[in-house]
């Protein structure tokens, strides 16, 4: 049996003209552990992040959304992990960079904010010490200058009484306050790229709204590029220019946010949208769940990983993996990886 040659994917997020700030090509991450089958957490992800762009990566647990960013920044460790592909930041290859150079890039050029701020903050150092340390290392500020700058940073993320707060330890702050501190630390070196991995998932709704507003006003306004990783389509709807939807280690749909929400083309995207209740819709609308569970997947080499759960499955879904391409007649920036995409009038 001859296998149909896999088509080459288009690059999601590729800008017009401007060189991308972050360029990920065919990134693959495989976890191998003793006595278990290897897990392909990321299975061929390519994407571009333009300078100053806000990009959302949406997916459920196991979609590879977090692993993608961790692998790109060399934060996965070496043991039991196999990484291939290339990740370039401003032209420099991050995957083959010596550890000390990479550390300089992280923190100064690229910063990260994680879901759980408590585990990313050092519990035995004051907030002030942790911020001034960054300022000393990356910006060469010393003593009072560093402390003044640190206080200014806290003010910029909405923490009043900053001078006193600098003397606080992480456990003395609330979850929302800690996440603000994390953002302040991330912005301390005026990075060109901020990666926020589920920054509001651990927070309450009203606090989460504060943090998203903060990201909007600080990051977006300062022309820092933002990659927001989340499971919540609602979060990206209000914040990101370009949205990539991931499933089982690959991007299955990528589009500017308005196009994505107005005209979702991948059955997984439409499935996600139809399965969450919306506050602005009448209450009687029944939820249409996606059948099965995220573990019911097909390896991508055998076809579409979503096929076992897909209501629009056709015989062609299995056999050859679909490529990520724009549909005929749709925007070149709207890419979908599906042999039987959802037609436009479908709701």
């Amino acid at each position: 049996m001859t296998r149909v040659q896999e088509q080459v994917d288009a690059i999601p997020g590729r800008g017009q003209g401007a060189a991308p700030l972050l360029e990920v090509r065919d990134l693959r991450v495989t976890f191998k552990s003793r006595g278990r089958r290897p897990v392909k957490a990321v299975d061929g992800v390519s994407l571009d992040v333009a300078p100053g762009a806000t990009v959302g990566i949406v997916g459920e647990s196991g979609s590879g959304k977090s692993v993608t960013s961790l692998a790109a920044l060399g934060l996965l460790g070496k043991r039991g992990v196999e990484i291939s592909g290339s990740v370039k930041f401003d032209g420099d290859d991050l995957l083959n960079m010596p550890e000390d150079e990479l550390r300089a890039v992280r923190g100064k050029e690229i910063a990260m904010v994680f879901q759980d701020p408590m585990s990313s903050l050092n519990p035995v150092l004051t907030i002030g010490r942790q911020i001034t340390e960054i300022l000393e290392r990356h910006r060469g500020l010393k003593g009072q200058d560093a402390r003044d700058q640190a206080a200014e940073l806290l003010l910029s993320v909405g923490i009043g009484d900053a001078v006193r707060r600098l003397k606080s330890f992480p456990h003395q702050l609330s979850g929302g306050m800690r996440q603000r501190v994390m953002i302040a630390m991330a912005l301390a070196c005026q990075p060109r790229l901020l990666i926020a991995d589920e920054p509001t998932t651990a927070l309450d709704v009203t606090i989460s709204a504060q943090i998203l507003e903060l990201l909007r006003s600080l990051v977006v306004d300062s022309q820092t590029a933002l990659v927001l990783i989340t499971h919540d389509l609602g979060v990206v709807a209000g914040l990101c220019d370009q949205v990539h939807v991931m499933y089982s280690g690959r991007i299955v749909e990528s589009a500017p946010r308005r196009a994505l929400f107005a005209n979702p083309q991948h059955p997984y995207t439409t499935g996600l949208l139809a399965s969450v209740p919306r506050l602005d819709q009448p209450r009687g609308v029944p939820l249409l769940p996606i059948p099965g569970s995220p573990s019911d997947t097909l390896p991508w080499v055998d076809g579409c990983a979503f096929a076992p759960r897909c209501t629009r499955r056709v015989p062609e879904s299995v056999g050859c993996p679909p490529a990520l391409l724009p549909l005929e007649g749709s925007e070149p920036s709207h890419l979908v990886r599906c042999v039987n995409p959802v037609p436009e009038d479908h709701t």
């Binding site: 459920e60 647990s61 909405g158 923490i159 009043g160 009484d161 003395q172 609330s174 929302g176 306050m177 603000r180 309450d204 709704v205 009203t206 606090i207 989460s208 709204a209 504060q210 998203l212 507003e213 903060l214 006003s217 499971h231 919540d232 389509l233 609602g234 979060v235 709807a237 209000g238 946010r257 308005r258 929400f261 107005a262 499935g271 996600l272 949208l273 139809a274 399965s275 969450v276 209740p277 919306r278 506050l279 602005d280 209450r283 029944p286 939820l287 249409l288 769940p289 996606i290 059948p291 569970s293 995220p294 573990s295 759960r309």
Partner: protein, 355 residues
Amino acid sequence: MSLLEIRDLKVHFPIKKGILLERTVGHVRAVDGVDLSVEKGRTLGVVGESGCGKSTLGRAVLQLEPITEGSVVFDGTDLSTLGARDLRAMRERMQMVFQDPLASLDPRQSVASVLAEPLRTHGHKGDHGKRVRELLDLVGLPSTAANRYPHEFSGGQRQRVGIARAIALSPELIIADEPVSALDVSIQAQVVNLLEELQERLGLTYVVIAHDLAVVRHISDDIAVMYLGAVVEVAPSDGLYDDPLHPYTRSLLSAIPIPDPEVEDSRERILLRGDIPSAAAPPPGCRFHTRCPWRQPTRCHDEVPLLREPEGVVGHTVACHWAEQVRSGELQPITSEVSLMVDAAPSGVSATAAD
């Protein structure tokens, strides 16, 4: 008549200090005077953020937390007057579904054993195996699941097992504490639909406790909004979204992201100041006044607002002194750049510092 009636319920947890000689230095007022009732066959949703006491309320209703004051009346019986034996018998009629399906299942028990346990406990005669298969079928699991163990299932399937256990004794009331929040987004709808389907088939009465207002609104007939141990608003589900009366409900609704860029871009957000105060030292007067964008001098600080029907509104109660004025637009929220700022004072004493 209401199936469940909660009257002025208070659950206060003592804060203890000292190693050898423990002494009580204060109380966390997890639930602090809640009145609610649920009609048979209906669903009451309880929403609120972490620490608002919604989970404690759910457990206290089932007598799984010590009640400090007030009463829970189930089908005419005040549960606190029952002895241990009668209460155990009463448990047959009211059950619970937990947030974390894995943690709520004994890892050593097979599904068959999990589902037969309630039957054994309440001395049900007959073929337990048959009932187990029936239950699995009701929740959409294959009968082969009976011989498997919790860790072999996916999250959604485990929650189905948890639901099957809850309906094993054919209860009348089910309290579901965050039944879907631990599940993947694509799975949540499956469980929500299952709960709705079971309600229809078995005539169940639900109390659904969750932080996700969209899910709660979808599944509930009525919604109670909790803040710091107290109910601030009770309304029919549609009424709550169409005509939110309490400032907290308004900001909660505006804070929930909606997966639609057109809506998101045009929405007006009411951002709250600061963090939720500690339940060990709730602010005086209206508990919400420290963060309220509509707060007015003196009265909000001095006087505790009671749940009431504001003028011109029927079947919708709110605990706010200024509900009418907020509703009519006579009072406008304080919107300024300050709204992005966290309260200068540390949480816990923010009650006094906020003025």
